[in-house]
């Protein structure tokens, strides 16, 4: 299995064939959406190979330049909403989770295991049932229809997730590092800030990305909690292009491309660290 001399030409060709098939499977829907976005008619091409007859940016223009009746630039506002909400969700939940995750990874205290178990349990409870109580809470706080309210809603999933992710990351960082810092004269907090956090940077970046992506991509809760067009995030705006009675597939596709490109760029920027944070070289050979 690891001896390359054994891989004859045939075996290599078969490997490439299998991988190419898989790549085709992976890329097909994406190409389909792109060709739909570029096709001038905005109707799906009823053919197997997703290449549009002609290329036109009309759908992109229609989506990106959408204005509301009062002449406000809707797409701009919705883009801003999505960006602010996703960024705030990612930063707030990671900032809140980081010290707590560190404590869960390092300290033994009364209730440590219990709280991890409770956290784990919350992940098994489907969100459908908590949507209604959350709606009532947001209403009581006068946060319905606001960005801050949406951030709170997204934090309910992002925060437990960040806690788990970061706890794992901190457990993977050798204790020696922070002990060395403390012997060198650091307080526990200084050791955390100056040594542990920088060592956990890749894991923190990945956690931020996940939280950002989750918020950027979410639409069901946003559609439930928002009721003004200029408060919408992009997914809510997008989903409305393919309603039951009027399907504007071209605009949906153009919008989908616009929404996906930024997250995909971010995803690829950190994809090297997707599984497991790295502290290579700091300890041992």
């Amino acid at each position: 299995m690891n001896d390359e001399r054994r891989d004859g030409l045939l075996a290599q060709a078969l490997t490439h064939l299998a991988l190419l098939l898989a790549v085709g499977f992976a890329l097909y829907p994406v190409l389909w959406v792109i060709s739909l976005a570029l096709s001038p008619s905005g109707t799906p091409p009823a053919r197997p190979i997703p290449i549009p007859d002609a290329v036109s940016l009309d759908s992109f223009r229609a989506v990106a330049l959408s204005h509301d009746s009062a002449g406000r630039w809707l797409f701009g506002r919705q883009l801003a909403n999505s960006l602010i909400v996703s960024l705030a969700t990612a930063l707030a939940s990671v900032a809140l989770a980081t010290p707590a995750a560190y404590a869960l990874a390092r300290f033994r205290f009364v209730g440590d295991r219990g709280s991890v178990r409770v956290l784990l349990a919350t992940q098994m409870f489907p969100g459908v049932a908590t949507a209604v109580p959350l709606y009532v809470i947001l209403d009581a706080l006068h946060l319905l229809d606001t960005r801050a309210g949406l951030v709170l809603v997204y934090a309910t999933t992002a925060l437990p997730f960040a806690l788990f992710q970061l706890r794992g990351a901190f457990e993977a960082i050798p204790r020696d590092l922070e002990e060395a810092a403390m012997v060198d004269g650091a307080t526990r907090w200084q050791a955390f800030v100056k040594v542990v956090l920088p060592a956990a940077r890749p894991a923190i970046a990945v956690t931020c990305l996940y939280a950002f992506m989750a918020a950027w991509n979410e639409f069901i809760l946003a559609a439930t909690f928002l009721s003004r067009e200029e408060a919408f995030t992009l997914p809510v705006a997008l989903q409305r292009y393919v309603g039951e009675y009027d399907a504007q597939w071209g605009r949906f596709a153009a919008g989908a491309v616009l929404v996906s490109v930024p997250v995909m760029a971010m995803f690829y920027a950190v994809q090297r660290h997707l599984v497991g944070g790295l502290t290579a070289g700091s300890v041992k050979g």
Partner: protein, 357 residues
Amino acid sequence: MASLTVRGVRKKLGANPILRGIDLAIDDGEFTVLVGPSGCGKSTLLRTVAGLEEPDEGTVLLGDRDVTRAPPRERDVAMVFQSYALYPHLTVRENLAFGLRLRKTDPAEVDRRVAEVSRMLGIGHLLDRFPREMSGGQRQRVAMGRAIARRPQLFLFDEPLSNLDAALRSQVRVEIKRMHADLGATMLYVTHDQVEAMTLADRLVVLNAGKVEQQGPPLEVYHRPVSRFVAAFLGSPAMNFVEGDLANNALRAEGLSLGYDASRFHGALPPRAVAGVRPHDVVVSPDRGAITLRVEVVEPMGSESFAHGTIGDQPFVARLEGGAIPSPGDTLRLDVDPSRVHLFDKDSGRALDAEAP
């Protein structure tokens, strides 16, 4: 520099006692090595001195200052970790300066000290590298440099050589010894390697199961072990132990009769005991030899060779000089200088010439 005093330190991990009442007094400038098998509590003791663990009972004094409950940063100690624990996101220069900057040392002074340390350890060319860009030996040096740059009252080493290969290890060992001579600092060094322990220590502390088994200058501990445990732990190959009856200033068993120096033993000796003989103290004596060794395996080392075999049914190793190499199956007659024969209680393992514990 300062002296270190540890008094009656006890610590439990859960229900499991790790340290069971440790007393140590280390003089200013002394190089002390804590040695013992894994799990004997030596690392825990070191970490207690560093302030990384808090003892359940007892006190730790640095100079005259009670630091038992003080956090590590208030103790002014430096520590070299087995894993080196270099900060992965900092360059060598920043690693060396880390502790100094935390203490708000004047930047010019920081630069001066970093330069001095890097010259001393020959790591000047590595200053702008990151830990992951260096070899194991280089990392180890940086880890020591980080401690030296701090100029602490006390240096702590936690098995700092165990991740190096054999050649590098003996080289760095010598360097540490030289460094101690140059700095004249108080050092506490933990290892399970008895060669390191013997060669580095001014004072050797042998720990066993959370207690100090014996402490003193290394040669004294080597030659006058207070227990079978210490005797077996130091020396390679390990000391031979044979059990037999005591009578007429000799220990007898099947295939051997060992004379001992009765003047070393005071009071009445028990009828049966365990004799300890180091392989190096054995001489071949075809005429007068009172020990008959049946050779089973021979290890020729060039200048010497080791013959493994049995006396009666008890295993025994003998070191043989130079060229005369026996073959498996041969029978050798051996003799031992009575002053080199140790006697241990066959149940407690205490040396019979040791003072009552």
